[in-house]
């Protein structure tokens, strides 16, 4: 029998707000344990939550990007459970009325677009972190993360493979980065997902019992966990059994999922309305204001690069994976009209520079005007493409206070337009290879390329290729 995999995701996105969801503690990643904890974060007696409105704005941004219905009246609920890293003994979340309902996101899987429906998105606060294995039998608790604002995005069971999960997570990460609402960094836990996995015979119109695999904090683990889980479920069904609905933990070291709790042992979270937070009511005008300030979405930017700036689909893709290169390109495109050249410069020089230096694009010491000047020098034939890329760009990085033209001048990289000099280079190339001249003249016109190369070698790249070509043809006849 052939089986179909059915997957729904619960994606947790940590928001990049200045402070926590319900108090003013910082949420900066990587601080010493338990240093970003006020009495409120610690759940001390007498403390109360206060909503960070930025969290709501961010949720609205995501809702607008996904075409979700926005709940203007937002209420909060308490989800009650005991755990050592949950200071209040409950988590503030939205159970009855999530901020966003519905919506969809398009992903590209193996070159084809597919729409994944969103069930809802709700706001909640994160718990702290527990570290169990460093000093057995003790566990260590870090409450810096406790109270960090999260959006939980719950999809419909529309995914059919690990590859689709991968595509969705990548697209979602791209989206939250464009929206400036999260850094989407899975290693630091800014994005995590729980996968609800089930199988059914291909073509069946029912769903199988699902298992929830918890806390997958990298795409590699998610893929492995799903592959393992699908095989496990198929084995059970093939053997005539029924998959038990349960919550599973994935162990990356063994690649195996193990039961955390069964349906019968499922927590009873005793949700009820959070009495400490009155409903927050948004107006249509507030939503419109958020909409007005919305950054462009990746799809829109990519489209703009292709239609308005006439970039190839390939280059447009490369430049829009992350929001920073796309924004950089759009700014650069205001300083030059040679868009293709600007794209090439970014892809071949600027992006690799950022990667090697480990610095953001905004840290590039060169202004858009300087980069435009660099492009113009090539376009106008003043510096050859190869010299520009091999020499001039590095020289500019080392001396950002100097103009590109000046650097080319000082280093003797300007292409020569001196007729005599050019004739001399051509003459040298021809004199050195009498055999090739004969061959050319007897019909091997392809050798023009060889002579071009020789002239370039002799001129150290300074010869203007157009003129050289013209001179060679005249000279070789």
């Amino acid at each position: 029998m052939t089986y179909e995999t059915v997957i729904g995701l619960e994606i947790h996105v940590q928001l990049s707000t200045q402070s926590k969801a319900f108090c003013s503690d910082s949420i900066q990643f990587g601080s010493a344990p338990n240093t970003q904890v006020s009495a409120i974060s610690l759940g001390h007696p007498g403390t109360l939550p206060r909503l960070n409105k930025q969290q709501l704005d961010y949720a609205i941004r995501l809702a607008l990007a996904l075409g979700s219905k926005i709940n203007l009246r937002n209420t909060f609920d308490r989800k009650n459970y005991f755990y050592a890293d949950l200071p209040k003994g409950y988590q503030i979340t939205q159970d009855a009325q999530p901020v966003c309902v519905g919506g969809e996101i398009e992903v590209i899987v193996e070159g084809k677009p597919k729409k994944i429906r969103i069930h809802h998105i709700h706001m909640e606060e994160d718990a702290g972190k527990s570290m169990h294995d460093s000093d057995d039998p003790y566990s260590y608790i870090d409450l810096n993360r406790a109270g960090t604002p999260l959006l939980e995005i719950v999809t419909e069971p529309d995914l059919r493979s690990a590859a689709e999960v991968d595509a969705l997570m990548t697209t979602m990460r791209q989206l939250v980065r464009y929206l400036n609402i999260s850094d989407g960094n899975m290693q630091e836990g800014s994005m995590r997902c729980d996968c609800n996995v089930s199988i059914r015979p291909l073509g069946a119109d029912y769903y199988g019992n699902r298992c929830e695999v918890k806390n997958l904090n990298s795409m590699r683990y998610a893929r492995k966990a799903i592959q393992y889980e699908v095989q496990r479920q198929i084995k059970i069904v093939e053997a005539g059994g029924t998959v038990a609905q349960q919550t599973l933990n994935f162990d990356p070291s063994t690649g195996v999922t193990t039961p955390l709790r069964s349906k019968e042992d499922a927590h009873d979270y005793r949700y009820f309305p959070e009495p400490d937070l009155p409903p927050v009511v948004l107006t249509e005008a507030q939503v419109a204001a958020i909409k007005k300030e919305m950054p462009d979405l990746p799809k829109e930017v990519r489209q703009q690069l292709v239609t308005e700036y006439q970039l190839s689909e390939y280059n447009a893709d490369l430049l829009t994976v992350e929001p920073e290169p796309a924004r950089f390109f759009l700014a650069l495109a205001k300083a030059t009209t040679s868009y293709d050249a600007a794209a090439n410069l970014m892809i071949n020089k600027i992006l690799p520079w950022s990667k090697e230096e480990g610095k953001p694009l905004t840290a590039l010491p060169l202004s858009y005007a300087q980069l435009a000047e660099f492009i113009a020098l090539i376009e106008e034939g003043k510096v050859s493409n190869s010299i520009a890329y091999q020499e001039l760009f590095s020289a500019m990085l080392n001396a950002p206070e100097q103009s590109a033209a000046n650097l080319a001048q000082v280093n003797n990289w300007l292409q020569s337009d001196d007729e005599d000099e050019m004739s001399n280079w051509v003459e040298t190339a021809i004199t050195d290879f009498p055999d090739k001249v004969k061959a050319y003249q007897s019909g091997k016109k392809g050798l023009i390329g060889f002579f071009m190369g020789e002239v370039m070698k002799v001129s150290k790249g300074k010869a203007d290729p157009k003129k050289v070509n013209q001179l060679l043809r005249e000279r070789l006849g």
């Binding site: 009495a39 610690l42 759940g43 001390h44 007696p45 007498g46 403390t47 109360l48 939550p49 206060r50 909503l51 308490r78 009650n80 005991f82 050592a84 200071p87 209040k88 003994g89 409950y90 566990s139 608790i141 009873d268 005793r270 949700y271 009820f272 009495p275 400490d276 937070l277 009155p278």
Partner: protein, 472 residues
């Protein structure tokens, strides 16, 4: 008789040089020492209070401007935070716990130079109507030490009754300020929900809790309210509604239309002498030119069950934070996380608190939520609608504060449900979030115990309620 019945008298004595602030603090400290057997205070901050008084006297001599409450000595209930001072909610689970911050109410009073003399005993986590569920043992009624003072702010009421401070801060979730005020013969006032910030008030039922005051005079009630009330960044449920100068508008009161709830006065649980006292009170108002009319009310018997469903639900969640992990009592017997929770909470909480946590956990459980919590919320809504309907015609609603006078110590530990039912007249104000005040209304003849009558006003009607009460 108390040495001072209003803060104005205290100010006059200081200004005319009859007494220093230190003299006043010393007087109250002597009163505290003389009333040890009533078990009012769980901690007295004698040195600190004396130092504050001394400093105030010096500042006064230097001609400095002092705060509006300079010379006022108050106590705070053991559920209200005061920075670097212990707060334990009368519970073992918070033994030794010091607060890192002051409640907004405490802070605003301190900013006006109030002197806090100590923290008063109370029912554990304010759960009780008798002040007997405290880990520190029961507080006794000064009118008859064999009797309860009421609760949960029982000791706060006795603190004022026994003249150990001029005023006391309590908290009122279902009558916890008004009921002990009635039992102890003082004024007990609970404002509109959201009038005073709850930041720094240990939560019992978050959508019911309000800080309230126990005083000898309406003037002091008004002054304290005026200073504590108002919006607060640390409590989203604290209202931004303007705070009138309550103490300045006590001068006159127009003839009012007052409703009394007929089924309340005909309730089988109502003591005959209490009923007679209530009728006498209503007659007095009538002779003062106010209109007094009976209204029908068919929700009376639903209020208590709905109240206990909702408050215990909230409490079961509010008290989850007391888990032995970050602060408070942690069992030394626990071997793992689960045992840390179970043993710390088993050892730390008393019987009444456990009963309410279990009840609240039950009513929120899957499969029971709709039958209990959701229905109780509907009762709450109906009650609010009905009270608002009455307030469309009437200025105030008048009720006895309690169906009986204070009962003997130990009695209600046997029968908690009977104790719950004794809150019948006070919980409506909390369910609907309305301001209410209990005024001394005389003596219960056969026991010679104090009695109180209660006036309830529409939301944010504190100014007219206090003015009316002042002019009775």
């Amino acid at each position: 008789m108390p040495k001072f019945t209003t803060f104005a008298d205290v100010q006059q004595a200081i200004e005319q040089g009859e007494l220093t602030t230190v003299n006043i603090v010393d007087y109250y400290l002597e009163q505290i020492a003389a009333s040890q057997d009533l078990n009012i205070y769980v901690e007295v901050w004698a040195d600190e209070a004396r130092a504050m008084a001394k400093q105030q006297d010096e500042r006064r001599r230097n001609g400095e401007q002092l705060g509006r409450l300079a010379g006022m000595v108050i106590s705070i209930k053991d559920v209200i935070c005061y920075e670097n001072h212990q707060v334990t909610a009368g519970s073992k689970i918070l033994e030794g716990f010091s607060s890192l911050f002051s409640a907004t109410a405490t802070e605003r009073l301190l900013a006006e130079d109030v002197i806090i003399i100590g923290r008063t005993n109370c029912d554990e986590f304010a759960m009780g109507s008798t002040n007997e569920t405290s880990i520190y043992g029961p507080t006794r009624n000064a009118a008859d030490p064999t009797r309860i003072p009421g609760g949960s702010s029982g000791a706060a009421a006795v603190a004022v009754q026994a003249d150990t401070c001029l005023a006391a801060l309590g908290s009122d979730t279902g009558g916890s300020v008004r009921q002990p005020a009635a039992f102890c013969g003082v004024i007990g006032f609970k404002p509109t929900y959201g009038r005073i910030s709850r930041h720094g008030l240990l939560a019992y039922g978050s959508s019911f809790d309000q800080i309230g005051t126990l005083t000898h005079s309406i003037e002091d009630t008004a002054l304290l309210l005026e200073i504590m009330a108002g919006a607060d960044d640390f409590d989203s449920t604290a209202s931004t509604t303007d705070v009138p100068a309550y103490s300045k508008v006590l001068g006159e009161s127009k003839p009012a239309r007052i409703a009394y709830i007929r089924p309340a006065l005909e309730h089988p649980g109502l003591d005959g002498e209490v009923r007679a006292n209530a009728e006498e009170f209503l007659n007095k108002l009538r002779t003062q030119g106010h209109t007094i009319e009976a209204v029908e009310f068919d929700l009376l018997d639903y209020i208590i069950p709905a109240y206990y469903v909702l408050t215990t639900a909230e409490a079961s969640s509010n008290l989850s934070r007391y888990d032995g992990i970050r602060y408070g009592h942690r069992s030394t017997e626990a071997e793992n996380l689960q045992e840390t929770y179970q043993k710390s909470r088993t050892e730390g909480f008393g019987q009444e608190v456990k009963r309410r946590i279990m009840l609240g956990t039950f009513v929120l459980s899957a499969g029971y939520y709709d039958a209990y919590y959701a229905r109780a919320q509907k009762v709450r809504r109906l009650l609010l609608d009905r009270l608002n309907e009455i307030f469309a015609t009437y200025d105030f609603i008048c009720l006895p504060t309690t169906p009986t006078p204070a009962w003997p110590l130990g009695e209600s530990l046997e029968d908690p449900v009977a104790m719950y039912l004794s809150d019948i007249y006070t919980v409506a104000a909390n369910m609907a979030g309305l301001p209410a005040i209990s005024l001394p209304s005389g003596t219960h003849e056969s026991t010679q115990l104090p009695l109180g009558m209660q006036l309830m006003a529409p939301a944010w009607g504190e100014a007219s309620l206090l003015a009316f009460a002042k002019n009775i």
